[in-house]
């Protein structure tokens, strides 16, 4: 396998190198790629959509349809991992473990035994439970809100600076994952259940697709945000700008939720016990 692999790699490499001989020089402003379609975006983005960040404008409007499927792809990935890995109705462990928080004593309760009320004194744990690290836990608790605010900024300010739904969504998702790493999976799931993550992720894409559908129902074509101008009470150009914001929010919601959903299922192999 190694040898055939090497041969294939070399053959493909030679092919690729042979292919580059007629390429335009690097960073040539007059190359076809930079001179055919893209100048239009640069010159017209503000007039068409009132969005100075051309990448955002192209992403969410000119090629918004790509982006919708991109979001759908990420949603599909979350769904696929859930479908492949999630194990419901697993055999319940015979003994349940509880930890008395103030003292740190761990109690094993056999089947049929009386379970303590779950409150701040007792927490349910798994056999793989490891004690939290106080420094990490505290640091994360402090920085997570700031990261989240930054994430929201990245989403909202995507029109004017690098950023947008994907970037912001990933950062938001990362905060929750950070929380899960610094605490444990069970605690995180208690805050944001898998169901919520799944519903959020479908809602986010739905927001995107439904906005497109709304444009269609308002008499224009799919994803033509200028049709929303009456609804939003603005001129068509600003309507596009607002439309882009709406779908950026949808994308952000969806990406965040899928990241979390993926983490839940991958880190615990679908069992949703302690996991990582």
């Amino acid at each position: 396998m190694k040898k055939t692999g090497l041969i294939m790699v070399i053959v493909t490499g030679i092919l690729l190198i042979a292919g580059t001989t007629e390429f335009p020089d690097w960073a040539d402003p007059n190359s076809p790629a930079s001179s055919h379609v893209s100048p239009y975006y640069i010159l017209k983005a503000i007039d068409d959509t009132a969005v100075p960040n051309v990448v955002s404008a192209v992403l969410a409007d000119y090629r918004g349809y790509d982006t919708m499927f991109e979001t759908a792809v990420i949603f599909a990935a979350g769904l696929a991992c859930f479908f492949l890995l999630r194990q419901f109705n697993r055999k319940r462990a015979k003994t349940k473990m509880y930890r008395h928080v103030p003292t740190g004593i761990i109690i094993d309760i056999d089947e049929g035994g009386k379970l303590p009320e779950e409150n701040s004194n007792f927490e349910r744990i798994d056999s793989q439970w490891t004690p939290y690290d106080l420094i990490i836990k505290t640091t994360c608790r402090i920085i997570i809100p700031f990261i989240q605010v930054f994430a929201l900024y990245v989403i909202i300010h995507g029109h004017h600076s690098p950023g947008g739904g994907f970037q912001g969504g990933v950062i938001l998702g990362a905060t929750i994952i950070l929380f899960a790493i610094s605490h444990d999976l069970r605690t995180t799931i208690k805050r944001l259940s898998e169901k919520m993550a799944s519903v959020f992720s479908s809602m986010g894409v739905f927001l995107f697709a439904a906005t497109g559908m709304l444009c269609l129902l308002l008499g224009s074509v799919y994803l033509d945000y200028s049709a929303l101008s009456d609804l939003l009470g603005t001129d068509p150009v600003m309507a596009r700008s607002h439309g882009i914001l709406i779908i950026e929010i949808g994308v952000g919601l969806s990406v965040m939720a899928v990241m979390i959903w993926l983490y839940y299922n991958l880190s615990s192999a679908g069992k949703h016990n302690e996991g990582l």
């Binding site: 292919g19 790629a33 479908f83 519903v199 074509v221």
Partner: protein, 496 residues
Amino acid sequence: MSEQFPALLITVPLISAFFITALGWRSAKPAYPIALLALASALFSSMGLFGEVLKHGKVSYRLGGWPPPFGIEYAVDALNAFVLVVISFVALINLIAAKRKVDGSFSGKSPAFYALYVMFVSGLLGITVTGDVFNLYVLLEITALTGYALIGMGDKHAPLAGFNYLIMGTIGASFYLLGVGYLYLATGSLNMGNLSEIIPTIQSKQTIIFAFIFCLLGLFIKMALFPLHNWLPNAYSYSPPAASGLIAPLTTKVMIYVMIRLVYSVFTPAFSFGHPILPTVFIWLAIIAIVMGSLLALAQKNLLKILSYIIVAEVGYMVGGFWLGNSDGMTGAILHIANDALMTLCLFLVAGNFIFVLKNDRLESFKGLIHKMPLTMAAFIIGALSIIGVPPTCGFFSKWYLIKGGIEAGQYGFVAALLFSSLVNVILFFKIIEITYFEPETKDGHSLHHHVAIPREEAPLSMLIPLAITTLLLIGVGLYSKEIVTGIIQHVLPTI
């Protein structure tokens, strides 16, 4: 309404997937009806679109209202409208038959199955309808990802098969993406119509040729053209029967459609067939695919494996027929997209019924099956005849065009390969029919037929009706081949 068909076609199934997922947490029950409705509406839209195209010619739909090449365009002509109808029909029929197979499997995750199912279909529909080469890549990936998940949920070796499919599929899609990159580098455009205008004006073609090679290489991996077929047999035979009836008939066929679309609408036929070596190379690859696919099918002991290798051979039919470059060969290839989708659907539904009743697909467990499941067996025989190419089933007519195209192009190797594979198919299928027909034998080799009556044990009606519809269509489409050829395919063929 009718001018919105291209958008509705794809978005309705897509949106339904979100509903299915969200509602799935409350109850698994609404998933199936929603999926059914979504696919029915997709079928309705594609039929409407088809009618529109036949009446008024090409339909162009600008998503977001942006004119091409700046926005993404849907460009529908008779060819994609036809393929759309095939896809949505196959998906709907298989969904009906899938109900009983899904019930009770996937341990409470059936809504996720249906959601992935409709997303897979909307991806395929999108691939077919789109007029933008990069949009095609995104849709390719959504189809692929949902496909990996559906395949990976099978028993036993399915995860490994799914994993290998994922690796190969990603290589294929990445090569396609690389090809698109080369195209973009050389032309600055991503819109198919725009590309086909620019490409003839470019003086030095080398970058375009490499773009062409990489795009096709990627597609060949995705359509499992021999020797890039390794992922296919395991992936299709280990996947859950509810999914294999969707994936097996459609994926390879849609990839062949994409190849045709790229040649017609992007690289232009004059460029593609003008190359001195490549078409001949492709025909020889196809010949090898046909011969090897047939031979490997002979060595298998499981029905699904046999069918998978037959698909490998059938891919060779279409690739070879298309690259013959004459109108008969191309007609045959395009006709075979529809015919093969139907035949494969029929046989995978049959296999699904067998597995539903017998719980496995090993040939040795098929003994006496003709008495046990006579209706399913009848469908199996008709499907088999179609694959073999016996008139008046539809398989005969596409083979007819393919062979005629081969004779016309002087590619006798291709003609011989087609005949060879037909003969191998005769052996393959009659071997199976023989096993089902001759009852279980006693030790000394005498039959028991006078004594034992084998009880009927048919599959449920919800699986038989879709099968019956498909089987009848095999003959119906065969008899109406002329209408399909003169009404649809002749309009699409380029003049070379």
